[in-house]
Protein backbone atom coordinates (compact mmCIF):
# COMPACT_ATOMS: atom_id res chain seq x y z
CA UNK A 1 0.00 0.00 0.00
CA UNK A 2 1.21 3.50 -0.80
CA UNK A 3 0.02 6.23 1.55
CA UNK A 4 -0.53 9.68 0.05
CA UNK A 5 -3.02 11.05 2.56
CA UNK A 6 -0.75 12.71 5.11
CA UNK A 7 -2.79 15.92 5.04
CA UNK A 8 -5.56 13.88 6.69
CA UNK A 9 -3.34 12.11 9.20
CA UNK A 10 0.34 11.18 9.24
CA UNK A 11 -0.12 7.44 9.04
CA UNK A 12 3.63 7.19 8.37
CA UNK A 13 5.31 8.12 11.65
CA UNK A 14 8.74 7.86 13.24
CA UNK A 15 8.92 4.47 15.01
CA UNK A 16 9.73 6.29 18.27
CA UNK A 17 6.16 7.63 18.39
CA UNK A 18 4.58 4.20 18.60
CA UNK A 19 7.21 3.13 21.11
CA UNK A 20 6.59 6.19 23.30
CA UNK A 21 2.85 5.54 23.39
CA UNK A 22 3.44 1.91 24.26
CA UNK A 23 5.87 2.84 27.02
CA UNK A 24 3.43 5.44 28.34
CA UNK A 25 0.88 2.71 28.99
CA UNK A 26 3.43 1.05 31.25
CA UNK A 27 4.80 4.14 32.99
CA UNK A 28 2.24 6.97 33.18
CA UNK A 29 -0.69 7.56 35.50
CA UNK A 30 -3.03 10.53 35.36
CA UNK A 31 -1.26 13.90 35.05
CA UNK A 32 -2.09 16.41 37.77
CA UNK A 33 -4.07 13.88 39.76
CA UNK A 34 -2.23 12.77 42.88
CA UNK A 35 1.38 12.81 43.99
CA UNK A 36 2.47 9.22 43.47
CA UNK A 37 5.24 8.34 41.05
CA UNK A 38 3.00 7.36 38.14
CA UNK A 39 1.01 10.58 38.36
CA UNK A 40 4.18 12.64 38.66
CA UNK A 41 5.69 10.83 35.67
CA UNK A 42 2.61 11.71 33.62
CA UNK A 43 2.77 15.32 34.78
CA UNK A 44 6.42 15.57 33.80
CA UNK A 45 5.79 13.98 30.42
CA UNK A 46 2.93 16.38 29.63
CA UNK A 47 4.93 19.38 30.83
CA UNK A 48 7.89 18.33 28.69
CA UNK A 49 5.61 18.29 25.65
CA UNK A 50 4.38 21.79 26.51
CA UNK A 51 7.99 23.03 26.53
CA UNK A 52 8.68 21.38 23.17
CA UNK A 53 5.61 23.01 21.60
CA UNK A 54 6.41 26.41 23.11
CA UNK A 55 9.89 26.15 21.62
CA UNK A 56 8.59 25.08 18.19
CA UNK A 57 6.03 27.88 17.98
CA UNK A 58 8.01 30.73 19.55
CA UNK A 59 5.99 31.05 22.75
CA UNK A 60 7.84 32.08 25.92
CA UNK A 61 5.68 30.41 28.54
CA UNK A 62 4.96 26.66 28.24
CA UNK A 63 2.08 27.15 30.69
CA UNK A 64 0.20 28.84 27.85
CA UNK A 65 0.28 25.67 25.74
CA UNK A 66 -3.14 24.15 26.41
CA UNK A 67 -3.88 20.65 25.16
CA UNK A 68 -7.01 19.74 23.27
CA UNK A 69 -8.02 16.66 21.32
CA UNK A 70 -7.50 17.97 17.79
CA UNK A 71 -7.58 21.24 15.85
CA UNK A 72 -11.38 21.30 15.68
CA UNK A 73 -11.50 21.12 19.48
CA UNK A 74 -8.87 23.84 19.76
CA UNK A 75 -10.53 26.12 17.19
CA UNK A 76 -13.97 25.76 18.77
CA UNK A 77 -12.41 26.61 22.14
CA UNK A 78 -10.73 29.70 20.70
CA UNK A 79 -13.63 30.94 18.57
CA UNK A 80 -16.43 30.40 21.08
CA UNK A 81 -14.18 31.60 23.89
CA UNK A 82 -13.19 34.88 22.28
CA UNK A 83 -16.13 36.15 20.25
CA UNK A 84 -19.73 37.10 20.92
CA UNK A 85 -22.73 38.44 19.01
CA UNK A 86 -21.99 41.97 17.87
CA UNK A 87 -18.33 41.28 17.14
CA UNK A 88 -17.03 41.32 13.59
CA UNK A 89 -14.56 38.65 12.46
CA UNK A 90 -12.67 38.34 9.18
CA UNK A 91 -11.87 34.92 7.73
CA UNK A 92 -11.10 33.49 4.29
CA UNK A 93 -12.53 31.11 1.72
CA UNK A 94 -9.57 28.80 2.30
CA UNK A 95 -10.92 27.63 5.61
CA UNK A 96 -11.77 24.16 6.81
CA UNK A 97 -15.11 23.57 8.52
CA UNK A 98 -13.26 23.55 11.85
CA UNK A 99 -13.00 27.33 11.38
CA UNK A 100 -16.13 27.96 9.35
CA UNK A 101 -18.73 26.07 11.35
CA UNK A 102 -18.03 27.70 14.74
CA UNK A 103 -18.08 31.08 12.99
CA UNK A 104 -21.31 30.26 11.13
CA UNK A 105 -22.91 29.15 14.40
CA UNK A 106 -21.95 32.44 16.02
CA UNK A 107 -23.10 34.29 12.91
CA UNK A 108 -26.54 32.76 13.42
CA UNK A 109 -26.46 34.31 16.90
CA UNK A 110 -25.47 37.79 15.73
CA UNK A 111 -21.73 37.73 14.95
CA UNK A 112 -20.79 39.74 11.87
CA UNK A 113 -18.61 37.72 9.51
CA UNK A 114 -16.60 38.69 6.44
CA UNK A 115 -15.19 35.88 4.32
CA UNK A 116 -12.43 37.06 2.00
CA UNK A 117 -12.90 35.39 -1.38
CA UNK A 118 -10.38 33.20 -3.19
CA UNK A 119 -9.74 33.28 -6.92
CA UNK A 120 -9.90 30.26 -9.22
CA UNK A 121 -6.40 29.27 -8.11
CA UNK A 122 -7.41 29.41 -4.46
CA UNK A 123 -5.56 32.67 -3.68
CA UNK A 124 -6.81 35.53 -1.55
CA UNK A 125 -6.06 39.20 -2.14
CA UNK A 126 -4.26 40.63 0.91
CA UNK A 127 -5.64 44.12 0.26
CA UNK A 128 -9.08 42.74 1.07
CA UNK A 129 -8.23 42.63 4.78
CA UNK A 130 -8.09 46.41 5.01
CA UNK A 131 -11.32 46.79 3.00
CA UNK A 132 -13.10 44.43 5.39
CA UNK A 133 -12.25 46.42 8.54
CA UNK A 134 -15.16 47.73 10.59
CA UNK A 135 -15.36 49.56 13.89
CA UNK A 136 -16.35 46.36 15.67
CA UNK A 137 -13.78 44.09 13.99
CA UNK A 138 -12.26 41.91 16.70
CA UNK A 139 -10.11 39.43 14.84
CA UNK A 140 -8.81 37.61 11.82
CA UNK A 141 -9.26 33.85 11.98
CA UNK A 142 -7.52 31.95 9.21
CA UNK A 143 -5.62 28.88 8.19
CA UNK A 144 -1.87 28.85 7.61
CA UNK A 145 -2.29 26.62 4.56
CA UNK A 146 -5.24 25.31 2.59
CA UNK A 147 -5.87 21.61 3.14
CA UNK A 148 -7.19 21.40 -0.42
CA UNK A 149 -4.54 23.15 -2.52
CA UNK A 150 -1.58 23.32 -0.10
CA UNK A 151 -1.20 27.06 -0.68
CA UNK A 152 -0.05 28.97 2.37
CA UNK A 153 -1.08 32.33 3.75
CA UNK A 154 1.51 34.91 4.77
CA UNK A 155 1.07 34.93 8.54
CA UNK A 156 3.62 37.69 9.12
CA UNK A 157 1.72 39.99 6.77
CA UNK A 158 -1.70 39.21 8.24
CA UNK A 159 -0.26 39.38 11.77
CA UNK A 160 1.16 42.83 11.07
CA UNK A 161 -2.25 43.95 9.82
CA UNK A 162 -3.81 42.63 13.04
CA UNK A 163 -1.23 44.40 15.17
CA UNK A 164 -1.74 47.70 13.36
CA UNK A 165 -5.48 47.52 13.87
CA UNK A 166 -5.64 46.08 17.38
CA UNK A 167 -7.14 42.77 16.25
CA UNK A 168 -6.73 39.29 17.64
CA UNK A 169 -5.13 36.83 15.23
CA UNK A 170 -6.30 33.23 15.50
CA UNK A 171 -4.43 30.76 13.28
CA UNK A 172 -5.37 27.25 12.22
CA UNK A 173 -2.02 25.47 11.85
CA UNK A 174 -3.49 22.04 11.10
CA UNK A 175 -1.71 21.73 7.78
CA UNK A 176 1.46 23.61 8.60
CA UNK A 177 2.62 22.75 12.13
CA UNK A 178 5.83 20.76 11.84
CA UNK A 179 6.36 21.81 8.23
CA UNK A 180 6.18 25.58 7.78
CA UNK A 181 7.97 27.97 10.15
CA UNK A 182 5.70 29.44 12.82
CA UNK A 183 6.72 32.03 15.38
CA UNK A 184 3.90 33.48 17.43
CA UNK A 185 5.87 36.54 18.46
CA UNK A 186 7.27 37.41 15.05
CA UNK A 187 3.97 36.72 13.29
CA UNK A 188 1.93 38.41 16.03
CA UNK A 189 -0.32 35.38 16.53
CA UNK A 190 -2.76 35.61 19.44
CA UNK A 191 -3.92 31.99 19.43
CA UNK A 192 -2.30 29.18 17.47
CA UNK A 193 -4.50 26.11 17.09
CA UNK A 194 -2.78 22.88 16.09
CA UNK A 195 -3.43 19.18 15.81
CA UNK A 196 -0.93 16.56 16.87
CA UNK A 197 -1.70 13.83 14.37
CA UNK A 198 -0.56 15.44 11.13
CA UNK A 199 2.79 17.16 10.62
CA UNK A 200 3.75 16.80 14.28
CA UNK A 201 3.63 12.98 13.89
CA UNK A 202 1.67 12.43 17.12
CA UNK A 203 -1.28 10.10 17.66
CA UNK A 204 -4.87 11.08 16.90
CA UNK A 205 -6.58 12.68 19.88
CA UNK A 206 -3.78 15.17 20.50
CA UNK A 207 -3.72 18.87 19.70
CA UNK A 208 -4.07 22.18 21.41
CA UNK A 209 -3.95 25.95 21.57
CA UNK A 210 -0.99 28.19 22.24
CA UNK A 211 -2.27 31.40 23.79
CA UNK A 212 -0.24 34.62 23.68
CA UNK A 213 0.22 36.79 26.77
CA UNK A 214 -2.80 38.97 27.47
CA UNK A 215 -5.29 36.85 25.52
CA UNK A 216 -8.15 35.63 27.70
CA UNK A 217 -10.25 32.76 26.36
CA UNK A 218 -13.48 31.70 28.06
CA UNK A 219 -13.38 27.94 28.55
CA UNK A 220 -15.69 25.87 26.36
CA UNK A 221 -15.66 23.02 28.87
CA UNK A 222 -15.33 23.04 32.64
CA UNK A 223 -15.15 20.23 35.16
CA UNK A 224 -12.37 18.06 36.52
CA UNK A 225 -9.08 19.90 36.81
CA UNK A 226 -7.13 18.10 39.52
CA UNK A 227 -6.78 21.45 41.31
CA UNK A 228 -9.00 23.85 43.31
CA UNK A 229 -11.44 21.01 43.98
CA UNK A 230 -13.55 22.98 46.45
CA UNK A 231 -14.06 25.97 44.17
CA UNK A 232 -17.41 26.16 42.42
CA UNK A 233 -15.68 27.41 39.31
CA UNK A 234 -13.05 25.96 37.02
CA UNK A 235 -9.50 27.35 37.56
CA UNK A 236 -8.76 30.58 35.73
CA UNK A 237 -5.05 29.96 35.18
CA UNK A 238 -3.65 28.58 31.92
CA UNK A 239 -3.26 25.83 30.91
CA UNK A 240 -5.74 24.16 33.29
CA UNK A 241 -8.26 26.87 32.38
CA UNK A 242 -8.82 25.21 29.00
CA UNK A 243 -8.09 21.60 29.97
CA UNK A 244 -11.15 20.14 31.70
CA UNK A 245 -11.04 16.40 32.24
CA UNK A 246 -8.24 13.86 32.18
CA UNK A 247 -6.08 14.54 29.18
CA UNK A 248 -4.68 12.12 26.62
CA UNK A 249 -1.33 11.67 28.39
CA UNK A 250 -0.44 8.51 26.49
CA UNK A 251 -1.09 10.28 23.20
CA UNK A 252 0.84 13.33 24.33
CA UNK A 253 3.82 11.07 25.10
CA UNK A 254 3.69 10.00 21.46
CA UNK A 255 3.36 13.60 20.32
CA UNK A 256 6.45 14.39 22.34
CA UNK A 257 8.38 11.72 20.43
CA UNK A 258 7.12 13.21 17.17
CA UNK A 259 8.36 16.63 18.24
CA UNK A 260 11.73 15.11 19.11
CA UNK A 261 11.93 13.72 15.59
CA UNK A 262 11.17 17.15 14.10
CA UNK A 263 13.80 18.80 16.30
CA UNK A 264 16.41 16.21 15.37
CA UNK A 265 15.59 16.15 11.65
CA UNK A 266 14.94 19.87 11.26
CA UNK A 267 11.81 21.61 10.08
CA UNK A 268 13.55 22.81 6.93
CA UNK A 269 14.82 19.35 6.04
CA UNK A 270 11.33 17.88 6.48
CA UNK A 271 9.72 20.61 4.37
CA UNK A 272 12.34 20.40 1.61
CA UNK A 273 11.99 16.62 1.39
CA UNK A 274 8.19 16.82 1.21
CA UNK A 275 8.30 19.66 -1.30
CA UNK A 276 10.69 17.69 -3.52
CA UNK A 277 8.37 14.68 -3.49
CA UNK A 278 5.31 16.82 -4.25
CA UNK A 279 7.19 18.59 -7.05
CA UNK A 280 8.30 15.28 -8.57
CA UNK A 281 4.69 14.10 -8.65
CA UNK A 282 3.39 17.42 -10.00
CA UNK A 283 5.97 17.56 -12.80
CA UNK A 284 5.21 13.94 -13.64
CA UNK A 285 1.50 14.49 -14.19
CA UNK A 286 0.89 18.14 -15.06
CA UNK A 287 1.29 17.79 -18.83
CA UNK A 288 -0.62 14.54 -19.20
CA UNK A 289 -3.82 14.87 -21.24
CA UNK A 290 -6.91 15.44 -19.12
CA UNK A 291 -5.01 16.15 -15.93
CA UNK A 292 -6.17 19.28 -14.09
CA UNK A 293 -4.09 20.51 -11.14
CA UNK A 294 -5.62 23.03 -8.72
CA UNK A 295 -3.99 25.78 -6.70
CA UNK A 296 -1.01 28.03 -7.25
CA UNK A 297 1.83 25.56 -7.73
CA UNK A 298 4.43 28.33 -8.06
CA UNK A 299 3.57 30.06 -4.79
CA UNK A 300 6.53 30.47 -2.42
CA UNK A 301 4.71 29.04 0.58
CA UNK A 302 3.27 25.59 0.05
CA UNK A 303 2.65 22.33 1.81
CA UNK A 304 3.17 18.99 0.08
CA UNK A 305 -0.26 18.70 -1.50
CA UNK A 306 -1.17 18.13 -5.14
CA UNK A 307 -4.89 18.54 -5.81
CA UNK A 308 -5.97 17.15 -9.16
CA UNK A 309 -8.69 15.67 -11.32
CA UNK A 310 -8.77 13.57 -14.45
CA UNK A 311 -10.87 15.38 -17.08
CA UNK A 312 -14.51 15.16 -15.99
CA UNK A 313 -14.14 11.96 -13.95
CA UNK A 314 -15.70 11.91 -10.53
CA UNK A 315 -12.94 12.35 -7.94
CA UNK A 316 -14.30 9.51 -5.83
CA UNK A 317 -14.16 7.12 -8.79
CA UNK A 318 -10.54 8.09 -9.51
CA UNK A 319 -9.51 7.66 -5.87
CA UNK A 320 -11.28 4.30 -5.79
CA UNK A 321 -9.46 3.12 -8.91
CA UNK A 322 -6.14 4.23 -7.42
CA UNK A 323 -6.86 2.22 -4.29
CA UNK A 324 -8.32 -0.87 -5.92
CA UNK A 325 -5.94 -1.19 -8.86
CA UNK A 326 -2.73 0.30 -7.48
CA UNK A 327 -2.98 0.25 -3.70
CA UNK A 328 -2.61 4.03 -3.54
CA UNK A 329 -4.41 5.91 -0.75
CA UNK A 330 -5.57 9.43 -1.58
CA UNK A 331 -8.44 11.56 -0.38
CA UNK A 332 -11.30 12.40 -2.71
CA UNK A 333 -14.27 14.65 -2.11
CA UNK A 334 -14.72 18.04 -0.50
CA UNK A 335 -12.10 17.80 2.27
CA UNK A 336 -14.36 19.68 4.74
CA UNK A 337 -13.49 22.91 2.92
CA UNK A 338 -16.65 23.86 0.99
CA UNK A 339 -15.74 27.45 0.11
CA UNK A 340 -12.47 26.37 -1.46
CA UNK A 341 -14.33 24.01 -3.75
CA UNK A 342 -16.73 26.80 -4.77
CA UNK A 343 -13.71 28.94 -5.65
CA UNK A 344 -12.04 26.16 -7.62
CA UNK A 345 -15.30 25.13 -9.33
CA UNK A 346 -15.14 21.57 -8.03
CA UNK A 347 -18.30 21.35 -5.93
CA UNK A 348 -19.81 18.63 -8.13
CA UNK A 349 -16.71 16.76 -9.19
CA UNK A 350 -14.69 16.94 -5.99
CA UNK A 351 -10.90 16.74 -6.07
CA UNK A 352 -8.40 13.92 -5.72
CA UNK A 353 -5.89 15.11 -3.15
CA UNK A 354 -2.42 13.63 -2.99
CA UNK A 355 -0.56 14.69 0.15
CA UNK A 356 2.97 13.58 0.81
CA UNK A 357 5.09 12.69 3.79
CA UNK A 358 8.74 12.93 4.70
CA UNK A 359 8.60 9.13 4.79
CA UNK A 360 7.33 8.63 1.23
CA UNK A 361 9.84 7.56 -1.40
CA UNK A 362 10.64 8.56 -4.97
CA UNK A 363 9.66 5.06 -6.08
CA UNK A 364 6.21 5.54 -4.60
CA UNK A 365 5.85 8.85 -6.43
CA UNK A 366 6.88 7.23 -9.70
CA UNK A 367 4.41 4.40 -9.14
CA UNK A 368 1.66 6.99 -8.67
CA UNK A 369 2.67 8.83 -11.85
CA UNK A 370 2.55 5.50 -13.67
CA UNK A 371 -0.89 4.81 -12.23
CA UNK A 372 -2.24 8.17 -13.45
CA UNK A 373 -0.76 7.53 -16.89
CA UNK A 374 -2.40 4.12 -16.99
CA UNK A 375 -5.77 5.47 -15.87
CA UNK A 376 -5.86 7.98 -18.72
CA UNK A 377 -4.33 5.54 -21.20
CA UNK A 378 -1.27 7.69 -21.80
Amino acid sequence: MIYFDSAATSFLKPPAVKQAVSEAFDTLGSPGRGGHPLSLAAGRSVFHCRTQLAELFGLDDPARVCFAYNATDALSTAIFGLFAPGDHVITTALEHNSVLRPLFLLQDQGLELTILPADEQGRICYDDFASALRENTRAVVCTHASNVTGNGLDLARIGAFCQQNGLLFVVDASQSAGVLPINMKEQNISVLCFTGHKGLFGPQGTGGLCVAEGVEIRPLKVGGSGIHSFDRHHPADYPERLEAGTMNATGIAGLSAGLDFIAQTGLDAIREREEALARRFYLGIRDLPGVIVYGDMDAPLRTAVVAMNLAGEDAGAVADALTEDYGICTRAGAHCAPLMHYALGTVEQGIVRFSFSYFNTEDEIDTAIGAIRALIGA
Binding site: G35, L40, V46, F47, A63, I227, D237, Y238
Partner: protein, 79 residues
Protein backbone atom coordinates in the same frame (compact mmCIF):
# COMPACT_ATOMS: atom_id res chain seq x y z
CA UNK B 1 4.62 3.38 60.19
CA UNK B 2 5.21 6.82 58.62
CA UNK B 3 8.65 8.29 58.34
CA UNK B 4 10.17 10.51 61.03
CA UNK B 5 9.02 14.15 60.76
CA UNK B 6 11.34 17.04 60.04
CA UNK B 7 10.96 20.78 59.50
CA UNK B 8 10.28 21.60 55.86
CA UNK B 9 9.43 24.56 53.72
CA UNK B 10 6.40 23.63 51.64
CA UNK B 11 5.47 25.65 48.58
CA UNK B 12 1.99 25.43 47.13
CA UNK B 13 0.97 26.31 43.59
CA UNK B 14 -2.03 27.56 41.66
CA UNK B 15 -1.64 24.98 38.89
CA UNK B 16 -0.13 21.57 38.26
CA UNK B 17 1.86 23.09 35.43
CA UNK B 18 3.52 25.53 37.84
CA UNK B 19 4.48 22.59 40.06
CA UNK B 20 5.98 20.75 37.08
CA UNK B 21 7.85 23.85 35.95
CA UNK B 22 9.30 24.21 39.46
CA UNK B 23 10.43 20.60 39.61
CA UNK B 24 12.15 20.80 36.24
CA UNK B 25 13.95 24.03 37.15
CA UNK B 26 14.93 22.75 40.60
CA UNK B 27 16.55 19.70 39.04
CA UNK B 28 18.36 21.77 36.46
CA UNK B 29 19.69 24.20 39.08
CA UNK B 30 20.33 21.65 41.81
CA UNK B 31 17.84 23.14 44.27
CA UNK B 32 16.83 20.48 46.76
CA UNK B 33 13.34 19.21 47.47
CA UNK B 34 10.65 17.13 45.79
CA UNK B 35 7.00 17.18 44.82
CA UNK B 36 4.61 15.78 47.43
CA UNK B 37 0.82 15.62 47.79
CA UNK B 38 -0.34 18.76 49.62
CA UNK B 39 -0.27 18.04 53.39
CA UNK B 40 -3.63 18.22 55.16
CA UNK B 41 -2.44 21.11 57.37
CA UNK B 42 -2.68 23.48 54.44
CA UNK B 43 -4.98 23.99 51.52
CA UNK B 44 -3.92 24.79 48.03
CA UNK B 45 -5.25 25.07 44.54
CA UNK B 46 -2.98 22.39 43.18
CA UNK B 47 -2.73 18.96 44.81
CA UNK B 48 1.04 18.99 44.49
CA UNK B 49 3.46 20.95 46.66
CA UNK B 50 7.23 21.36 46.67
CA UNK B 51 8.75 20.18 49.92
CA UNK B 52 12.33 21.19 50.73
CA UNK B 53 14.62 21.39 53.73
CA UNK B 54 14.13 24.76 55.42
CA UNK B 55 17.67 25.84 54.55
CA UNK B 56 16.76 25.65 50.86
CA UNK B 57 14.09 28.35 51.13
CA UNK B 58 16.21 31.22 49.89
CA UNK B 59 17.42 29.31 46.84
CA UNK B 60 13.86 28.19 46.18
CA UNK B 61 12.46 31.72 46.28
CA UNK B 62 15.15 32.88 43.89
CA UNK B 63 14.46 29.99 41.56
CA UNK B 64 10.70 30.67 41.43
CA UNK B 65 11.39 34.29 40.70
CA UNK B 66 13.79 33.35 37.89
CA UNK B 67 11.33 31.02 36.18
CA UNK B 68 8.33 33.30 36.64
CA UNK B 69 6.30 30.99 38.86
CA UNK B 70 4.11 32.70 41.44
CA UNK B 71 3.74 30.39 44.42
CA UNK B 72 0.36 30.27 46.05
CA UNK B 73 2.05 30.22 49.45
CA UNK B 74 5.11 29.29 51.48
CA UNK B 75 4.49 27.20 54.58
CA UNK B 76 6.79 26.05 57.34
CA UNK B 77 5.72 22.64 58.54
CA UNK B 78 7.10 19.71 60.40
CA UNK B 79 6.01 16.82 58.28
Amino acid sequence: MLRKKSPRVVVTFHTTTAAMKTEQAAREHDVSGRLIPVPREITAGCGLAWSAPTEAEEALRALLSDIGVTAQNFHHLTI
